[in-house]
Symmetry: C2
Subunit: 437 residues, 2 copies
């Protein structure tokens, strides 16, 4: 469509595309057709923003008392009476980019203190991690684009990048030899034609494997990505859904995003994280999308304009009530200690699971390396079918696990009590044994 516009009328996105090209030609090359088209239109939200504070303001399509306060139903308002935040803001529309105070607090909470940390924008609020991924797919994934993903991966990546956007999922066999091998990322990338833009999805700690790289593995991973970016524009999507849930002292807890900002001008990273796991707020649907540029730069504003356009075209403004809940929670002095307590509960389950698995028969099950997140993944013996084992565990052992065909079972120890874990592993082992015989 850009090409079809008349030569005398610039496309409305032209100015922000120019801002992007000036900051990063690789970023422009990475944008999808939809990403290039998108620009936040100067219509109602823009006009409403200009009218803010005027004595007579008839721009706002919300039902208020005429002075900015929602005309709340009493039966509804009492439902949020426990909220320590702004009740009015909870019941009215959020700005499309999210509440600024929450965005600032989230950035401050995550940004490492080191001056070497990569640049980062004020995060945009999105409707959950999946929505952040879907927006990245809209912006950067066109039909046929290679999306390199370590296997095994969260199945929903396929819906988001392949089904909806036509991307081509390219598996990277990163756990091949029973250990995390960053070099395995290079082969599928190097097999692509030189110069062709590509995406890499990194979910660390990972679902379903539950692994985070060691410091040395992280170094090798960064090297592998830098090597790949020497040959093409490369977007690294850091899906940090499980940020902070790390249970071994020698495993870095910081997102790889903070190391990727300055290693190659053709490597761009985006960070997606959220309240879902970090604040144990699964029902809230508040997540964040961060770009690798400082706030208020022209390139940052250009990416925000495109993202806000696509936000409007997909879900509109993010949920306000959840943002107020998250903000009020983060304003509690003790909240980081509460988050640490949850981490410790999960760490104890993690240790119980490790111990139980170490006692299990390695001829029946072998865990992939795991040290973080919510899950462990078991590899079954050759010849066994994960789905058959799952159904047997349901039917005969009163036990539910997730099958990841052909030969893996996922254990979500985040939802199993510590004291139940030994028996859970015994039943899984017995189910596999029954299926093997």
């Amino acid at each position: 469509m850009l090409a079809a516009m008349s030569a005398t009328t610039p496309h409305p996105a032209q100015a922000i595309n120019d801002d992007i090209a000036r900051a990063s030609p690789a970023l422009l090359a990475l944008l999808s057709e939809l990403g290039r088209e998108a620009v936040y239109p100067p219509d109602i939200p823009h006009q409403a923003a200009q009218a803010r504070g005027k004595r007579f303001n008839a721009t706002i399509g919300q039902i208020t008392d005429g002075h900015g306060r929602v005309l709340a139903l009493p039966s509804l308002e009492r439902q949020v009476s426990g909220l320590e935040g702004d009740h009015n803001a909870a019941l009215l529309y959020s700005p499309i980019e999210g509440r600024e105070s929450l965005r600032r607090r989230w950035r401050g909470r995550h940004r490492p203190s080191s001056p070497a940390a990569s640049p980062s924008s004020l995060p945009l609020v999105v409707a959950g991690l999946t929505h952040g991924l879907a927006l990245v797919a809209d912006l950067f994934c066109d039909r046929g684009r290679a999306v390199v993903v370590p296997v095994p991966f969260w199945g929903n990546y396929r819906q988001i990048f392949a089904l909806r956007r036509g991307g081509r999922i390219v598996p990277a066999d990163i756990y091949r030899a029973g250990r995390f091998d960053p070099a395995a990322l290079r082969a599928p990338l190097d097999a692509l034609p030189e110069g062709e833009p590509a995406l890499v999805l990194l979910n660390l700690p990972s679902n379903p494997v539950g692994y985070s790289p060691t410091a040395s593995e992280s170094d090798h991973l960064v090297e592998a990505l830098a090597g790949a970016a020497a040959r093409r524009p490369l977007l690294v999507v850091c899906d940090d859904a499980y940020a902070g849930l790390v249970y071994e002292d020698d495993i870095p807890r910081e997102s790889l995003f903070w190391r990727l900002g300055s290693i190659d001008e053709r490597l761009l990273a985006v960070k997606i994280d959220g309240c879902t796991k970090e604040l144990v707020f699964f029902g809230g649907r508040v997540a964040f999308l961060t770009f690798p540029f400082e706030p208020d730069l022209p390139v940052t504003r250009a990416l925000e304009s495109k993202t806000k356009c696509l936000l409007r075209a997909s879900v509109g403004s993010p949920v306000a009530v959840s943002q107020e809940i998250a903000l009020a929670t983060l304003e509690h002095a003790g909240v980081e200690a509460e988050i640490e307590q949850v981490r410790q509960v999960l760490a104890r389950r993690y240790r119980a699971l490790r111990e139980a698995l170490e006692r299990a028969d390695p001829r029946l099950l072998r865990p992939l390396p795991f040290n973080s997140g919510c899950f462990a993944l078991l590899e079954l013996p050759e010849g066994l079918d994960a789905e058959a084992v799952r159904l047997r565990l349901l039917a005969e052992f009163d036990t539910g696990v997730v099958a990841s065909p052909p030969r893996h079972l996922r254990i979500a120890y985040c939802s199993v009590a510590e004291e139940a874990i030994p028996e859970l592993v015994s039943r899984i082992e017995a189910g596999i044994a029954a299926e093997s015989s």
Copy 2:
């Protein structure tokens, strides 16, 4: 992609596409390529559903105490302490299709008692009206598909259907002669090649016009749609965002959706409505998508499977905390009276606005017909530029309205106090006069 599958391996969506074809060949013809591809995969949510109630359940990727209760941060849990609903459900993931009790209640609240009312599914919960529209666009809008929309229309339709899905917006000049003319819908539809599927977007009460048809106009509208469906598969999207906000006694309040189910087998209607305006819960992002088939039929399950697939690929599960708030609100005996009180407040503003506009100089402004919703739309004299008037009103009259270029101003009286309305109209009139001179 369907065509590219091997002849011996049926596409995973084939079975549900067959269910759709058996119930309605027109519906199958209306599906987009993405809509035909989509099928809810039998993976984690499906496996988790099968494991519900098992003694050992390690399927759930949520952080719980091991017995189904969220490991909530105390600082977060206190934020929902006023909620009369299920706190645990508010903090954990909602089912992808929404909480069943809310879906049932919403259906019951909207379904007319008349046995002649069109069939309707259990509505799916979506993340706001926009998200419902975006899902309909995913399901039914392909590149180049005609999307007929009465003008003037909400600008975001363009982002949702044209920008993101490549649809072709075809304006229908339904308010041409200063009155609502349903026949105006026919011309753009009849101009399309016979048999080509098309979409019609009906937003009644409308944004930005604020109009709902009379009983006789509704009859003509239904006739026009039936006539159009005689020549092609036609999907009528009922965007009922402003349902119930009707201020004249002789204007039907019921959605047209309830009349469209049986007029032609080639006419399919979907209904999108929500808590945003109906429960004055703008910050909640809870809306509903209803299909024109009774619950539990194969065709209904097929459409639900496709929609759930696209839900997962766009935002994941809908916000749980807002659903609990909406459900608890709807369970209050007095809630319908509270909703009626809001309607009466808006009805008084509506009357104040009508009276003020009747006193205004018709050479300066003429309202399009309005009788419902949140807005009125003023037509400016020829030669005036709406954007210039808007900027003048901001700069010189301390007054904000929305410009709908080239020649309309939108007044959102839903956010202006009744007593301010005469002065608001005076200032708008004075601003137009100043711009005219």
